[in-house]
């Protein structure tokens, strides 16, 4: 849910093909030759996290730039990642099934059990140029729940809260995993076992940043 910059294109072979498409072929993940190029370029942009819940799905060794040769991803023998390729707007899947702009990598359970083909509001499309999580969201650090910024007008709050629900951001087990992960990280800092600068956060960075801002009172 932090802003995702999808302008770094490592899978240039795919991107050239996608841009040249007049009509998209039918989406079939198992048949398309660019499937892994899309998946891994997304992980590169999302730094291995689920675009929606920010759970860790893929470790850096698989998505670092040295895995690409001549614009194609070189899948290692021990390749192992979690998650699914997700069409943000499911209505575009049929006619624009390979549209880069509509892709994210997401946690499998969130994709298949919660989001499915539910309609979406662009307000929480995390790669929008004007998207700013700190303007749109609030974080309740006691219960580790994301909500819409209550300073926004009610209509926007409603859309954001609906999206947070559709994207599974506060569903279980995500909320509990996030709570446990962050509580331990925060405790280690407050007990001076770690520092804000050195603490290693490899998932839930947005929630962590909200907690940090709250604790630092800014």
């Amino acid at each position: 849910m932090r802003k995702i910059n999808k302008t770094t294109i490592l899978s240039t072979a795919y991107k050239n093909w996608e841009e040249a498409l007049v009509a998209h072929p039918e989406y079939d993940s198992s048949k398309n030759k660019y499937y892994y190029d899309v998946v891994m370029n997304l992980f590169h942009c999302q730094q291995g996290l689920c675009a929606y819940t920010e759970q860790l799905l893929c470790t850096p060794d698989f998505y670092e730039a040295n895995n690409w040769v001549n614009g194609k991803y070189q899948k290692p023998v021990n390749w192992s990642v979690k998650g699914q390729l997700e069409h943000f707007d499911a209505t575009k899947k049929q006619k624009q099934g390979w549209l880069w702009d509509n892709f994210f990598m997401a946690d499998t359970d969130v994709n298949t059990k919660i989001k499915r083909n539910n309609s979406v509001h662009e307000i929480l499309k995390f790669d929008r140029p004007d998207y700013d999580e700190f303007q749109l969201l609030e974080y309740n650090s006691n219960e580790h729940i994301f909500i819409a910024n209550t300073e926004l007008d009610e209509s926007d709050q409603e859309k954001i809260n609906e999206m947070l629900f559709i994207l599974g951001v506060n569903h279980e087990p995500v909320r509990t995993v996030r709570a446990e992960y962050l509580e331990m990280k925060l405790r280690s800092i407050l007990l001076e076992l770690d520092t804000w600068e050195d603490v290693k956060i490899n998932q839930f960075p947005t929630a962590f940043e909200f907690c940090k801002r709250e604790i630092m009172n800014y």
């Binding site: 359970d109 059990k113 609030e138 309740n140 650090s141 006691n142 219960e143 729940i145 994301f146 909500i147 819409a148 209550t150 709050q157 809260n161 947070l164 629900f165 506060n170 569903h171 279980e172 087990p173 909320r175 509990t176 925060l186 407050l190 907690c211 709250e214 604790i215």
Partner: protein, 445 residues
């Protein structure tokens, strides 16, 4: 005799499946067979199948044992009788093949004494194995041939084929015997009081003797009620009527259950939970099993959570040095077990075969276990042990988001006192409904 290891080479969803059923390193009983085992896992993973496989193995083993030798430990290394092959190594490792498959259990201890060494009387024999299938209360009173699943020495008992009246009859033999002795004792007191010119010292002496007899001879019905049954039945507003009045023929046909204010509840009107308790505890009380393998499928059936919390310990207290195998879907039952006593079965999505989810990392040592159901809350057990992926209904997520929104709005300085009061009332109501933890201080601040 206790099972130390189970190995299944190939049987339905089990392939090259091995369970270490001993206490891990670092445990005071390290290397010894587990006292109790709890199988959990998604429906279809084979929990009941394991109970069936193991209990049938005992059944086969017993038949072989009866025919072949007096003690397993006396047997040769390799013996095949009646299609059952067994291997005895130092630790009395036994292998058996049946139903065209290959299953083996490593057993600990002296082995099984042959049946002939035991009495044929039901209440005196010590069974090798007892099996309580999931539907054992359904067949009560309907099965005509009680002996159907009993071999002639009563060493293996399928409780699907054992009826309530039969169990009660065996307990009743002890009660009637007690009652006869009680009448005899009270008659002796009566004889003394009837004597002409009897001295008060003589009456006191006779009464004292009667009291001494009562102290030395426990009323079995009262013992059963006080020590075991009433502990549970009281939760159902019921109790055992311990009076040995035998006023009508029905009084000796079944244990008498009454409400706490003294109204009798006949068997046909007892709840399924009451029957579950009676029909599982009465046989254990009667048989007093010792070093027996006891199999229970879904012991939680029809029992409210507060009773589930106790039932495993109660069953254990009714027995001596037995080994229990449970299959359950209940997090509360699972919380009665140490982590190494739980066997969680999972499907391998690639092969469709079942494997055991390990709760430890590295060496199998008590310090390396990362899950302990005895330390977790019930909802945590559901999520962490039973892999439930949500903490409640999906509507709870929306309710919690609403609460977080209300809390945020309540913190704002630019709202009127009327608005604040309205939000506060809404907040209070919803927080009560959701069990929201309203912390006044944030320790992070």
């Amino acid at each position: 005799m206790k099972v130390k290891e189970l190995y299944i080479k190939d049987y339905h969803q089990f392939e090259d499946f091995r369970l270490d059923l001993t206490y891990p390193e670092g445990h005071p009983k390290a290397g010894q067979p587990l006292d109790k085992v709890c199988f959990i896992g998604q429906s279809g993973t084979g929990k009941t199948s394991l109970l069936n496989i193991m209990s049938r193995y005992f059944y086969n083993l017993h038949f072989f044992n009866r025919m072949a030798a007096t003690r397993l430990s006396d047997m040769r290394d390799d013996t095949t009788v009646d299609g059952i092959s067994m291997k005895f190594q130092g630790a009395k490792h036994i292998e058996s093949s049946y139903i065209d498959n290959y299953i083996s259990l490593a057993l600990d201890g002296e082995g099984i004494f042959i049946a002939n060494a035991l009495s044929n009387e039901f209440h005196r024999c010590n069974p090798v194995a007892l099996f309580f299938p999931v539907d054992f209360t359904n067949n009560v009173g309907t099965l005509k041939d009680v002996e159907l699943y009993r071999d002639e020495e009563n060493l293996f008992l399928f409780f699907s084929g054992l009826n309530y009246g039969f169990i009660w009859q065996k307990i009743n033999e002890q009660i009637v015997q007690y009652r006869e002795q009680q009448i005899e004792q009270s008659l002796a007191v009566s004889e003394v009081t009837k004597k002409i010119g009897v001295k008060s010292e003589e009456i006191l002496e006779a009464a004292k003797k009667y009291q001494e007899w009562e102290q030395q001879n426990i009323n079995p019905l009262k013992d059963l009620a006080d020590t075991f049954l009433d502990r549970i039945l009281n939760k159902f507003n019921l109790r055992v009527n311990p009076e040995l009045d035998f006023k009508k023929i029905e009084d000796v046909k079944a244990i008498k259950i009454e409400t706490l204010d003294g109204h009798e509840v006949l068997y046909d009107f007892q709840s399924t939970g009451t029957r579950q308790v009676l029909l599982s505890m009465l046989p254990l009380y009667t048989l007093k099993p010792n070093r027996t393998a006891i199999f229970f499928d879904e012991p939680e059936r029809s029992l409210y959570p507060d009773i589930q919390k106790e039932i495993v310990d109660i069953y254990t207290s009714l027995t001596t040095d037995c080994q229990f195998f449970y299959a359950t879907h209940s997090p509360i039952i699972a919380s009665s077990f140490e982590p190494w006593e739980i066997v969680e079965l999972k499907f391998n999505p690639k092969t469709g075969k079942v494997y055991q989810e390990l709760y430890y990392e590295g060496e199998r040592h008590v310090d390396n276990y990362t899950i302990n159901p005895q330390y977790l809350r019930w909802d945590d057990i559901l999520q962490r042990v039973f892999d439930l992926d949500s903490e409640g209904n999906e509507k709870r997520v929306k309710a919690l988001m609403k609460l977080a929104t209300l809390e945020s709005k309540l913190k704002k300085k630019d709202i009127t006192s009327e608005e604040k009061e309205k939000l506060w009332n809404e907040y209070l109501k919803l927080s009560k409904l959701t069990g929201w933890t309203t912390r006044m201080t944030n320790e992070k601040n």
